[in-house]
């Protein structure tokens, strides 16, 4: 799926370099819209405070998911736009890109949403997001000192995530 494509108004960012550093940022949300993790590698421009930023990102995905399901040409029965869906109901999108970035998205039936923003020419990151979900399970969910629904403070998770992201994008 390509959004906002067509005429290229602003120039693309430099082509991806071979080794790493092409990831911009990552978000992990739970179903209640709580941002469990925000990690930033390369984001020169910031105009919003973090709370606004997180809320906007969550809202974008929530609306987009609802819209994409509504526009699904293959399914006859669907609710009205904005009517809440059960988790896993309807189709789901996994990425979009603009001329300046690509957003990859994965949502689990338990309501965990993983968002990775990278260079627009990055390939399919679905398997990578699955891998990151596994990191989350190993180092966050199984950490005896982690309380579900709270921001992630695990050093070992952050280090592993940084390393992995550098290797893929």
């Amino acid at each position: 799926m390509q959004f906002f494509g067509g005429s290229e108004i602003s120039p693309s960012p430099p082509a991806p370099t071979v080794s790493g550093n092409n990831a911009n940022m990552m978000y992990v949300f739970n179903r209640n819209g709580i941002c469990l993790l925000y990690r930033e590698w390369n984001r020169p421009l910031r105009t919003l405070n973090p709370q606004q930023d997180h809320k906007l990102m969550f809202g974008l995905l929530f609306s987009l998911k609802s819209l994409t399901a509504k526009m699904d040409p293959t399914i006859a029965e669907k609710g009205n736009l904005g009517v809440p869906q059960l988790p896993g109901q309807g189709c789901s999108f996994h990425s979009f890109h603009t001329n300046t970035y690509k957003l990859s998205f994965m949502e689990t039936p338990s309501g965990i949403k993983l968002i990775l923003v990278t260079h627009p020419r990055t390939g399919d990151l679905r398997e990578s997001l699955k891998y990151i979900y596994n990191l989350y399970v190993e180092y966050v969910v199984k950490n005896p000192l982690y309380s579900p629904g709270t921001p992630i403070r695990s050093e070992i998770f952050n280090t592993s995530l940084d390393q992995y992201v550098r290797s893929i994008a």
Binding site: G33, Q85, L86, Y133, V137
Partner: protein, 186 residues
């Protein structure tokens, strides 16, 4: 529709890292003993075990989803089968079966073929009201709540209380749709 995940947890269990069941069983025993000392009332211990199971369930569901590649859980019948055939095997190395469906498909029984929690256990006279395995009912309730199914899980049969099997009754109360979590004025 494509199946939502594997039919059995055998392969996942075989490839997973495993520990001796005795470490697990004895640790669980230590938890129950701690609760009996802390809370004194058997009824309170039952409640706390269920709560602890719930706390485990809301975490464990992510491990389950990550390892089993289950991508959706919409149909309760399918979900109950997956818990029994994949979930129990994947974590405890035992199988369970689903029976006793009611007419409208919202209530069923999960019968355990083996139960590693209860090796070495016999309830003393002072703990006769104890649901020793109550952690399991909590786990199922917690895990299902995370996939938006509100359930009530109770013991229909308990071998430690003289029944001929371990049987959990799982009743679907409602499925909760995804709501936009923020209020406009936030």
């Amino acid at each position: 529709m494509a199946p939502a995940g594997p039919r059995s947890g055998d392969a996942i269990f075989a490839s997973a890292e495993r520990v001796n069941a005795e470490l697990f069983t004895l640790t669980y025993g230590a938890i129950v003993r701690q609760l009996l000392t802390d809370l004194e009332e058997v009824e309170e211990v039952n409640k706390q075990l269920d709560q602890m199971g719930y706390n485990i369930g809301i975490r464990l569901v992510d491990e389950f989803l990550a390892k089993s590649n289950v991508s959706r859980c919409i149909d309760f019948k399918e979900t109950a089968e997956v818990i029994a055939k994949v979930g129990f095997k994947m974590f405890l190395g035992v199988t369970a079966s689903v029976t006793n469906w009611d007419a409208d498909g919202t209530c069923c029984s999960i019968v355990l073929e083996d139960n590693p929690l209860v090796d070495f256990v016999e309830l003393p006279d002072t703990c006769q009201g104890l649901y020793y395995c109550n952690v399991l009912s909590g786990v199922i309730r917690g895990a299902l709540e995370m996939v938006s199914m509100k359930t009530e899980v109770t013991w229909a049969r308990d071998m430690l209380r003289g029944d001929d099997a371990f049987e959990l009754q799982v009743k679907l109360l409602k499925q909760v749709p995804e709501e936009y979590p923020y209020k406009d004025d936030e």
